[in-house]
Assembly symmetry: C2
Homo-oligomer: 173 residues x 2
Amino acid sequence: MIILGIDPGLLHTGWGVIETQGSQMRARAYGCIDTKSGDDLGMRLQAINQGIAEVIDTYHPDECALEDVFFGVDAKAAFSVGEARAAAILAAAHAGLEVGQYPPRQVKQVVVGVGGAEKSQVTYMVRRQLGLDHDPKPDHCSDALAIGLAHALLTRGSRRQQQAAATAQGEVA
Amino acid sequence: MIILGIDPGLLHTGWGVIETQGSQMRARAYGCIDTKSGDDLGMRLQAINQGIAEVIDTYHPDECALEDVFFGVDAKAAFSVGEARAAAILAAAHAGLEVGQYPPRQVKQVVVGVGGAEKSQVTYMVRRQLGLDHDPKPDHCSDALAIGLAHALLTRGSRRQQQAAATAQGEVA
């Protein structure tokens, strides 16, 4: 199973690709799409949209996960995150991928065990659980991998059930 | 000159196509792209993106205008407007159109003459200036036409200068 995690932002959109096999998980690739604040908004959104489309073309993820709406930010920041999110989601939707959405607190809760965990704790757990020998940098990459990891952990139970059902069906057939 | 005005929203995205010939302006078409709040976000953004792409394919606008970031709204509302905006802007960028952006106050100032004008005053002026014999409904269509009209009025001066320069060049050549 290949999972694509995305941490969208108009200036920096982090992405991370995770491969799972049973309970084994590893980071396969990660990166960041940067745009310039002075550039035309259409060009910047296209860069995010096409960047994510290229990641999908390269790694063929089965599932995709993004950070959900977060509050406590000002309207202007929410506005640009919303724009970047839409550019990324449209690339996923175009490839027929559904997008899992998780609030930041839930991602931290699942990855670290504490909803209010520090960034360094998230990076530490991402590195450890995904078999990396270094901290994924910049932070947007670590965040994207954390979102993918949270999705992998949260959906593992239902996936295991589906596999068991498919096997049982195979045995009966 | 064909101008496409867009009033983006996740639930309702209004659009309006304006045709200008010298100082003459008329509404050529308008409409609204609606999405359901319970539907998958990717599907909703695709509906807006494809809806605007179809309008562009049908009317071949030369220029495009949108409402700019507005403040005084809560972060959650800003988030979804940002998402809808990005879906519309990506359709315009894909067609090679640059997007003029105007704050709501400027649109009202240009169309009605008063930055704090009421919605009904905007609709009245849109109807009058664009030669419509009825109020464009729903409000999102009237707003989209107002944005297009503001863009037409604001860029008319520079367009006239460009035409004069081109004519002068033609006379010299």
